[in-house]
């Protein structure tokens, strides 16, 4: 049943899937709500499942439903999808050193499943190791688990959405908050990381009403800028070590 020749690969695949379980819980209500919303709009049920299967991006899918219901043009839906998903460029740039040595089909597949949650879990795994030393099966396992989870809960919403009123009020999305805290807090070991995170968090709160998640993107860029400025004014030990090696 498993890969008998590669037990380590299978273990990494399942480890990635295991570590993303809290995120799967957190995403479940959104999958159901998405499916439910499809049933009340102009799309066929199978359009809703197709969207989850090929787009696999919660925020963009929700916004697209709203735009479609409002008879927006294709160009508007596509442009919105582009803007809402722009933050993913930062994710792939951050993870790029860890996947750049892989065959193209691997990089295309891993890019396809790179959601917020998969980024968080994959990065938490990679950051303890030098680039190139970790196999991609953990990343893939987390991504596939999240992908199948999204399909199942979309289908549940499409078929039984009306049976789950008040799903949003359960607060299952708090699982995402708790997991991200578990990943972020141990990273705040130096003032520059702390200042960057506080800046991004505060601005994301104040700018949350901006359309198309642009407030989130701007808050992240501002937080990163604060971190970079503090790094330049107080070069870190690691940067000095790198400079020493270069000389």
């Amino acid at each position: 049943m498993t890969h008998p020749k590669h037990p380590a690969r299978f273990q990494e695949l399942t480890a990635g899937a295991r570590d993303i379980i809290p995120m799967m819980v957190g995403a479940a209500p959104f999958g159901v709500i998405f499916g439910t919303l499809v049933t009340s709009g102009p799309l066929h049920l199978w359009h809703g499942q197709l969207m989850s299967l090929v787009v696999f991006a919660g925020s963009a899918q929700f916004i697209a439903l709203g735009l479609i219901a409002g008879h927006a043009s294709f160009a508007v839906v596509w442009a919105t999808t582009l803007v809402v998903n722009l933050r993913h460029v930062l994710y792939s740039a951050t993870l790029a050193p860890y996947v750049s040595h892989l065959p193209l089909r691997w990089r295309l597949a891993l890019g396809g499943v790179l959601t917020d949650e998969v980024f968080a879990v994959a990065w938490a795994h990679y950051r303890h190791h030098p680039p190139g030393s970790v196999s991609p099966y953990y990343f893939l396992g987390a991504g596939l688990a999240m992908y199948f989870n999204w399909q199942v809960w979309t289908l549940a919403g499409l078929l039984f959405g009306a049976a789950f009123p008040g799903l949003q009020s359960l607060g299952l999305d708090f699982a995402m908050v708790a997991t991200f805290i578990a990943i972020v807090v141990p990273q705040l070991v130096a003032l520059r990381y702390f200042a960057a995170a506080v800046t991004a968090g505060a601005l994301a709160f104040f700018w949350q009403a901006w359309p198309y998640k642009l407030g989130l993107l701007a808050a992240v860029l501002a937080g990163v800028a604060v971190g970079v400025l503090l790094s330049l004014s107080h070069p870190s030990r690691s940067q000095r070590r790198t400079a020493g090696v270069a000389q």
Binding site: T81, R107, L108, G171, F180, I183, F205, A219
Partner: protein
């Protein structure tokens, strides 16, 4: 209208955004300043995603009160993570505090 074309277009755009940097692979070498900047992406983006969820769980205004279970659960998780640095314990305590607060304390 062909919704299938619309959906496939969304898929292509999303996938290109996510995979473009990966596709460049080894040909892409970031200058040191960009590498420094990317080092701050995880803590900033994850914080930016959760602060609005914890502080204003219903959208709109801040709910900086003990009657906000998201905020109480998040503060508990932050405390556990800062003290122990253990991810599973952080998630378990955070979720427990959240659900107990929501289901018992505020009932």
């Amino acid at each position: 209208m062909s919704y299938v074309a619309l959906i496939l277009g969304m898929a292509l755009i999303t996938w290109m955004i996510r995979a473009a940097v990966f596709v460049l692979g080894d040909r892409l070498v970031f200058p040191p300043l960009v590498r420094t900047a990317l080092g701050f992406v995880p803590v900033t983006v994850l914080t930016a995603l959760i602060v609005p969820m914890a502080v204003s769980p219903h959208g709109g205004g801040a709910e900086l009160t003990w009657r906000n279970p998201q905020l109480v659960g998040a503060l508990a998780a932050v405390a556990v993570s800062a003290l122990t640095r253990r991810p599973l314990l952080t998630i378990a305590v955070g979720l427990t505090v959240f659900f107990v607060w929501q289901g018992v304390v505020l009932k």
